[in-house]
Symmetry: none
Subunit: 218 residues, 2 copies
DNA sequence: ATTACTAGTAAGCGAGTAT
DNA sequence: TATACTCGCTTACTAGTAA
């Protein structure tokens, strides 16, 4: 979302457009934003096109209301500010369950990892990872995570190859305990890998595509 | 402040730059922002020029820290999001001081009103009201206000005429205590009438046309 | 490696104006 | 009154590259 559009959306929200339809003309909005009527009009068109607001054009003015999508964008922004100013010890993600390519199982079964999980996380990880695709909008939170101190799992070697270090954070998924695993050397990903002492798909009765809630403890 | 610069400042804050110096190269920043190294470099130059960050350029990378001014800008933004999403007990208005037609004084000096002000608001109102013209756009917020429970001032009669009931909300104007008065029977107006135990024009050293900040407590 | 200048291109803005 | 189009001007972006 373009930064200037987010600002406009915020202004509309401050006028109450998340809760009610707000009656406002493009000229009034322009005055509020200290810009031209034409630009204000364009802002509204863009926000509408992006699905952030709905508009009802009357003969005079227009009734504007922020959509669910628009409110979500604002919520996300708000969360980031909370993260900045509040001393938070947890980060919340929502996402949906996806299938990996069986790699998770391969890795978690390496004793080099498994032993460290047991020692540093205090549980024996069920073979495999539960992969959760987070919404693109939440990638900022993921990045944030990478800067926090984590439970470190060291790299190790076998006869065949080297396995890289990973970072872990204690976490819950739909209130079930476990941890998320972040490869130290990884490109940007929108997948969270969750390990747990339990077979989560069964325990939580979840399948691919289901929405889940992940809480990460810092 | 330009919207895109605010976004960058927020990103730096998320990296911890409000609390510590953060070591980051323009290229790294560029990757996080999904933009070019040149643009990231320009962002940092602009933020520096605006006094939002301080930079220590080393031979490699640079140490960046958000200044007090920068943090203030973020705080202001955070406040606005709180206003949007929290069950707030206050509403903010900005507006400018205007002169009424002396009516305020006539009304506030009626003992029927003055006695009730003293009883229900806890102060003896200085004769007259300070009138603040709110920006037209904020009339939407004013409309919200009319739905909240207010301190009620009852109508009364004198030998000559009837004086209508009014609603009051405790409020501050530029941090000075008082209340705003909304006539029960009134057309929509973009004027807020402020009463206070003090002579506000003198106490706050304000005159017609000055911008003031009003906080209304619900 | 790094920052940041220059220059050409793309995006955003607002005056004029059609509707 | 409104909204929103066109179009010339300004601002922002990035490739190339110097330092």
């Amino acid at each position: 979302m373009k930064p200037y559009l987010l600002q406009i959306l915020k202004e509309l929200a401050l006028l109450g457009a998340t809760k009610n339809r707000v009656e406002i003309s493009s000229l009034e909005l322009a005055k509020q934003l200290e810009t031209s009527q034409q630009t204000a009009s364009r802002y509204l068109l863009e926000l509408d096109k992006d699905g952030m607001i709905t508009r009802e054009l009357g003969i005079k003015k227009q009734l504007i209301r922020i959509t669910g999508k628009g409110e979500e964008a604002l919520q996300e922004e708000y969360l980031q500010y909370q993260q900045i100013f509040e001393l938070t010890n947890k980060i919340r993600f929502t996402g949906k369950v996806v299938s990996g390519m069986g790699e998770g199982r391969y890795y978690t079964e390496q004793s080099g990892y498994a032993d460290q999980f047991k020692e540093r996380l205090g549980f024996v990880a069920f073979p495999g990872t539960l992969n959760v695709e987070i919404r693109h909008i939440e990638k900022n939170k993921l990045r944030l995570l990478k800067n926090y101190n984590a439970i470190q799992i060291d790299e190790f070697e076998t006869d065949n190859r080297t396995f890289g270090g990973v970072k872990c954070f204690r976490a819950t998924i739909n209130n079930a305990d476990g941890a998320i695993v972040l490869p130290l050397r990884s490109h940007y990903s929108n997948i969270l890998e969750f390990i747990s002492p339990h077979f989560l798909r069964e325990k939580l009765n979840i399948k691919d595509g289901d929405n889940v809630k992940i809480m990460i403890y810092l």
